[in-house]
Symmetry: C2
Subunit: 143 residues, 2 copies
Amino acid sequence: MKSDQENQLYSLLRKAGMKATPGHLTILSFIQKSKKPISSQDIINGIDRHLDPATVYRCVTKLKENGIIRQIDLRQNNAHYEFFDMAHHHHIICTGCGRIEDIEDCNLETVHQQILGQTKGFTQIKHHSLEFYGLCKKCNSKN
Amino acid sequence: MKSDQENQLYSLLRKAGMKATPGHLTILSFIQKSKKPISSQDIINGIDRHLDPATVYRCVTKLKENGIIRQIDLRQNNAHYEFFDMAHHHHIICTGCGRIEDIEDCNLETVHQQILGQTKGFTQIKHHSLEFYGLCKKCNSKN
DNA sequence: AACACAAACGCAAGTTACTTGCAATTAATT
DNA sequence: AATTAATTGCAAGTAACTTGCGTTTGTGTT
Ligand SMILES: [Mn+2]
Ligand SMILES: [Mn+2]
Ligand SMILES: [Zn+2]
Ligand SMILES: [Zn+2]
């Protein structure tokens, strides 16, 4: 007897042409439950069932290739990932403690056109990465 | 007899409170000459005079800490750096071949205020990182 | 239900990018 | 010229992945 959430992830994987293996399901579920972008190391340390690190890295790559998760760069020493079901958004990161929040507004799609006007060497923009860095209230008051 | 460029870098380092050592001068000069952001590995492989990798990593960190170079994240497996004398700008990167161009316009400082209105947990934004990814003309026509 | 096969897996070994400890050297101050 | 703290090279160590390979497993087909 599978839960609704398990069934949902199962069909998500199958629709993307991926096998619904323990690795894929465990990792995907863990990323979905997380409220902020996480690294492959976070997954290796955080999952209940044991998965070999090599397996985790291979699965994360596949999930990204198939557009089920997306990569976020947080200026830490490794890539982070989040579930790719929500609206296009960005992040604000505290340079003191790493606290992270979503930023919903993003009018950059209009900027894309301006840029394509400026540049001579590029013909299309596929996506962009935008992160804001600052201090959260806690870290700001510590100073 | 030193060149003008050498004297310029010398005083830049001294003003920042850094010693004008072979390591600092060689690396800084190499970054300045480069027309695009480069990685520490690029420096290790590219400089004329030999410097130990450990030295290069230590120097790059110092130059960054003192605001002489700035870090750029290009979704490659390592951080890139560029000379920090020019106007605030961003980049557009070809996902096919890595070709990179500067993007001059950036009205995000106004967006900072909007974001600080939205968020409950953050009090100030120090900087942001914005990169556009697309296809250059060459890579686009290959398809 | 059994079969076939590509995909996924665990394990071990290898790689890349970077860091750290330490003794010797050197740039800047006096 | 003497002093001293920062820098450097070298060697060793670490963290984050990657790759090869033999075995297992999920899935489509019979
Ligand atoms: Mn998010
Ligand atoms: Mn630039
Ligand atoms: Zn904070
Ligand atoms: Zn290209």
